[in-house]
Symmetry: C2
Subunit: 681 residues, 2 copies
């Protein structure tokens, strides 16, 4: 606090056009000249009166450890992006296919295997049912795709099940769909990453023990990639999707060609597998349904594109529809192709789960060489990136929910890179939790997976059905029929999944979805009640002037921070009172003695506290003041020392912190912190 002896010029500050003036000469009579416009540094003028626009400088450009943190952040996720660039961050169809369909397409890598594993419970013979089941699932996919093409057209600003169900079936159905989807997305991340790591450990078995750690690191990588923003993550994640499609098409072509030529020998299960119990269960409808529902995971990716319509380049809905169709076609070819080859060759899933069926197939066709490694790496990559679909969808859905007041408002806030930061981080942590809880086992996670998504499907389709019926727009009859079939199909699958997998884990979803729904509704209710309480229903009476506050300054001793606090109090009030609470009568006498020369005419009240408490007597004193003027707020001015190092906080301000917590809940009380920064030695 080194001040020049000249009194500071207490000139009025202009909050908007602000100019700082300087005397032309040195004599008091000399005129002032404007020397700079302070707002030019970091701001531009807006169009309206009283409007400023912040530039990037206000966000960047820090010094010290905050600057270091900022540079690390820029290195990891890039520079901030201007809101207006949102349009330019939109996705082309080629990128959108990679981002939104990697989930769908990658299901072909493990879908057939999951069907076979259930059938293998009956015996090797039952595995031949894989191909018909794969065909059935493909037909179902066609129905759902057709159905969702209509949804996308009807909701070009985002065809999430949450929106469609809310809009047509009421907010309850919408929140139910949202809860189911949120859980589905978290499970998707866990399943996809686990499956990706399983593809990797098929060729490097030593890593099997580390699979939870590897999976978690991969989720962390996805989190950082997505915090960089949607367009960049499109670029990063495009290559693996297309690499997988090309590699698989090539292998399927090669395999089918050789099969037609009768060139492929039948698969012989290694002798070691014989010791593991396989088969023995009777083949019943229930088991077939379970096998079917395990395969139905392949459809979970459909929602992704509908949810992401606003991220497409214009015309959004047309591009989204085309992309959806392409994704379905590619998936169908790969899924049926793989199912055909593995059943023809007679591949049996590895009961020890150390090798995937796809890996067995490629190994059988091309041996232990280069092709196997390429195929497995491409599979691993696309599976990990399938998780990325959820990283695109979960944050967007939670932003819709936050906008409507079902989730905390942070979820609706776009970060510096236009990504929904909070949603991305929340998804990552929940997925890692799930990976740890289920030891990154695909088989363990799958039962949790399908139910939520199919529940959302059903609600979305049912919403469309209602919409067609109510509106009866031109062409409503075929539309109604398609969505009707879609509703029926997905509802049946949801029921099958719920019953056939109930004890394998579906029960957990059946418990969690309603709980999450209650949480969302609870948050909504809180925000709604609060809104009612806080919003002004009438324009306040302009005559009403807030009463002047009663100003008190608790001081512990006579020092510079206390002096500053008293000076501040005097600058805003003519009747500020300093209060010294003490348990030592001697220091109280001393303070009384020194006070007049120290603080002039400011009133001092010494409160003796023979029970050595500080907060209780202060609150009682405030109550006594309050009784004299119940309408006036009490302003408590606190002197606080600002330590230079974090550890110094342990030595200071503990009492001030406790006091502030107490004053925060006291009605009609305002706390002003006057920090004192000691000069650098």
């Amino acid at each position: 606090m080194t001040r020049s002896p000249r009194k500071p010029e207490d000139r009025r500050v202009d909050p908007l056009l602000g100019v700082r003036e300087k005397r032309r000469g040195k004599r008091p009579g000399d005129a002032y000249v404007r020397i700079f416009r302070p707002f030019e540094d970091g701001f531009k003028r807006g169009d309206d009166e009283g409007e400023l626009i912040a530039t990037e400088r206000t966000v960047l450009g820090r010094t010290g450890w905050r600057g270091t943190l900022r540079r690390l952040r820029t290195f990891l996720i890039g520079r901030p992006i201007h809101s207006e660039r949102e349009e330019h961050e939109r996705l082309t169809k080629v990128k959108a296919l990679a981002i939104f369909s990697s989930d769908n397409i990658s299901s072909s890598a493990y879908g057939p295997e999951e069907i076979m594993r259930v059938l293998a419970l009956v015996g090797a013979g039952a595995i031949s049912l894989t191909l018909p089941l794969a065909g059935l699932i493909t037909v179902m996919l066609a129905i759902v795709t057709l159905s969702y093409r209509q949804t996308i057209k009807a909701y070009p600003h985002g065809a999430s099940s949450y929106i469609v169900a809310s809009d047509n079936l009421g907010s309850g159905a919408g929140v139910l769909a949202a809860a189911a989807l949120l859980i589905g997305y978290v499970v998707t991340v866990a399943v996809s990453v686990s499956a990706g790591v399983a593809a990797l450990t098929s060729i490097v078995p030593d890593l099997y023990e580390q699979r939870v750690l590897i999976s978690s690191v991969l989720v962390g990588g996805l989190m950082i990639g997505n915090l960089r923003g949607i367009r960049e993550s499109g670029t990063i994640f495009m290559i693996p999707t297309y690499a997988y499609i090309v590699a698989m098409l090539a292998i399927l072509g090669y395999g089918i060609a050789r099969t037609i030529m009768g060139d492929v020998p039948r698969f012989e299960a290694p002798a070691a597998w014989e010791t593991v119990e396989q088969g023995g269960q009777a083949l019943g409808l229930f088991l077939i349904l379970r096998a079917f529902s395990q395969g139905a995971v392949a459809l979970t990716g459909v929602e992704a594109i509908s949810d992401g319509v606003p991220a497409f380049k214009s015309p959004e809905w047309k591009n989204a529809r085309t992309t959806l169709t392409w994704a379905a076609v590619i998936f169908a070819i790969l899924f049926v192709g793989i199912a055909f080859l593995v059943t023809t060759i007679g591949i049996v899933p590895d009961p020890t789960e150390q090798q995937t069926v796809l890996s067995l197939l490629v190994r059988h066709l091309t041996g232990d060489g280069f092709v196997l490694i390429i195929a497995q790496v491409a599979t691993a990559l696309i599976l990990v990136l399938a998780a990325n679909t959820s990283f695109a969808d979960f944050p967007r859905l939670s932003s819709f929910l936050a906008r409507d007041g079902y989730l905390p408002r942070q979820f609706a806030f776009r970060g510096e890179r236009l990504a929904f930061t909070t949603g991305i981080i929340a998804l990552s942590f929940m997925a890692i939790g799930l990976l740890v809880a289920f030891s990154a086992s695909v088989g363990g996670l799958i039962p949790l997976y399908t139910l939520g998504v199919f529940l959302a499907f059903t609600l979305s389709q049912a919403g469309m059905l209602t919409r067609w019926w109510r509106r009866r727009e031109p062409g409503w009859r075929p539309g109604l029929a398609i969505n009707g079939l879609g509703t029926l199909t997905t509802a049946v699958v949801a029921l099958v999944v719920a019953t056939s997998n109930f004890f394998q884990g579906a029960w957990l979803v059946i418990v969690l979805v309603p709980l999450l729904m209650l949480l969302l509704l609870g948050i909504h209710r809180h925000y709604r009640d609060l809104d009612k309480a806080l919003t002004l229903d009438h324009i306040p009476d302009k005559e009403e002037i807030a009463p002047r506050p009663i100003v008190i300054v608790p001081i512990a001793r006579l020092d510079r921070p206390a002096l500053r606090a008293i000076a501040f109090a005097n600058s805003i009030s003519t009747e500020a009172v300093a209060v010294h609470i003490t348990n030592d009568p001697d220091t109280a006498d001393e303070m009384h003695k020194r006070w007049p020369e120290w603080a002039g005419t400011t009133a001092l009240v010494v409160v003796d506290s023979p029970y050595r408490a500080l907060i209780g007597p202060l609150l009682a004193y405030m109550d006594a003041l309050q009784r004299q003027a119940p309408d006036r707020p009490i302003l408590v001015v606190l002197a606080e020392f600002v330590p230079r190092h974090w550890w110094e906080y342990l030595l200071h301000n503990q009492t001030a912190l406790r006091l502030k917590l107490r004053l925060f809940v006291r009605p009609n009380t305002i706390v002003a912190d006057v920090p004192y920064h000691p000069p650098r030695a």
Copy 2:
């Protein structure tokens, strides 16, 4: 915020004599009458002008969950005690012996055993050396006691080694002694409680596995007992000490009488013990020294009485000296008596550590019956209460240290029961940490124990030596001789302990003491530097008036909390500016439109934030204001909603919290929190 349409009477509030007035009639011209004096509720008037004395009511009498917490607290530790009662809380000699000497006297329970355990490494024959070693330790105790009688007389206000060493050898030596003692006290608690629990598990072996838990619970009980205040803990803890003394004297008398009559058979070690390796090491000087240093633990209690002189009834030093002598005599009788009996009968320590030697002795003399249980329970109790000595000393020493600025000031603060709350709690947690780390093993903890205390002894005696030499008061020659002998003795023991137990754990103390010393000196330096920076070296110029603050009110939307914040800002400044930072141009337009009817003439600045950041642009805006008036502080008025339930905090104020943390470190910035409490629905 329901206000009557009548303007609030903005009458001046009297901070001291406060009266609230009321109109006699209802017409404006009617006179006011005084109706009550608000300070009569909770305060009395002090003798000085402007002085109030808080009553117990200001500390008690809360409602809601704070009231519940307060009642629980009163139940556990009692009602607050008035500072003036400190005199009445003083200890009589009988109580002081129980509180301060339980450590010393209880050492007789495990001292002989620790000597025997080291000697047993040579073989059963070497155990006969126990009695001579016990004699040697008793002689040493006599020297130290004589020496400390002089210290107590010289320092009647507290003869802690820290004070004596600081006073005569400089603050460095004082802090070294303090560091050694603090560590010693923590270890004392751990050792005593472990030994007490060992006495218990000797008769109830099933509890052996739970010893860490039992020990921790006992430390927790001691903590609560001590928080109740020193006098009450004296009452609680008196009985076990005297019960142990009486029980042991009776058993020793009975045993010695029977021994003299030749009535006691020799002890035969159980066959099971033979399988455990005993003996084999050569009997050398080193091993004898180790056995001696294990026995020297018995002396650690001496410091306690010297430290606690101010807690005695007047005349303090005389009473303390007498108590010290009595404690030494009682200890000597028990220690030598037990050593004599066990060696005469030929008892060998249990290599499995499941039975204490004392338990073996009593069992051998009286069988498995009633006497054994009484003896063991009394032993367990006094050992646990020996820990209580540290609970009396550690907090007092840390209060001395805090007073002198070597520890955070909280340590010097007497709680509601006149106990040093912070020190008691800190000691408890550190002791529990040590118990967990060492699995509550007496043998493992002992090597940590003796070194610190003997280091402090040596420094204290050396301080007295210097004092005699400098002052040469009447009778200084014998005084110098006694303290010289004391210094020599304790220095030799410290050296013996450090070298003979180095690898058993003394190294840890040798590392920790200097580290703790550095910490204390670092804290001291910090407080000293700060004092220099904060204290006013000259009376400030009365002409100097603090400049009016620039007042800004960041608002997120137009609602009741914002209205309150703006009203407050206007009540203390004529040029307050509301700032709305937004990334949505539409809401900005809306706000501009509604503003005039909403906030009258208060200026509104809208800052468009196209990078969606809030804090960066606000800080940049403040910088721009600051450049116009570098001398004026900026007052940031924050509207804050006060949630009714803890979980609602998760949904609110996150941004406000981050903002406050940033503003706290900004120079020349004051933050005023205007809380808004929503009306109860």
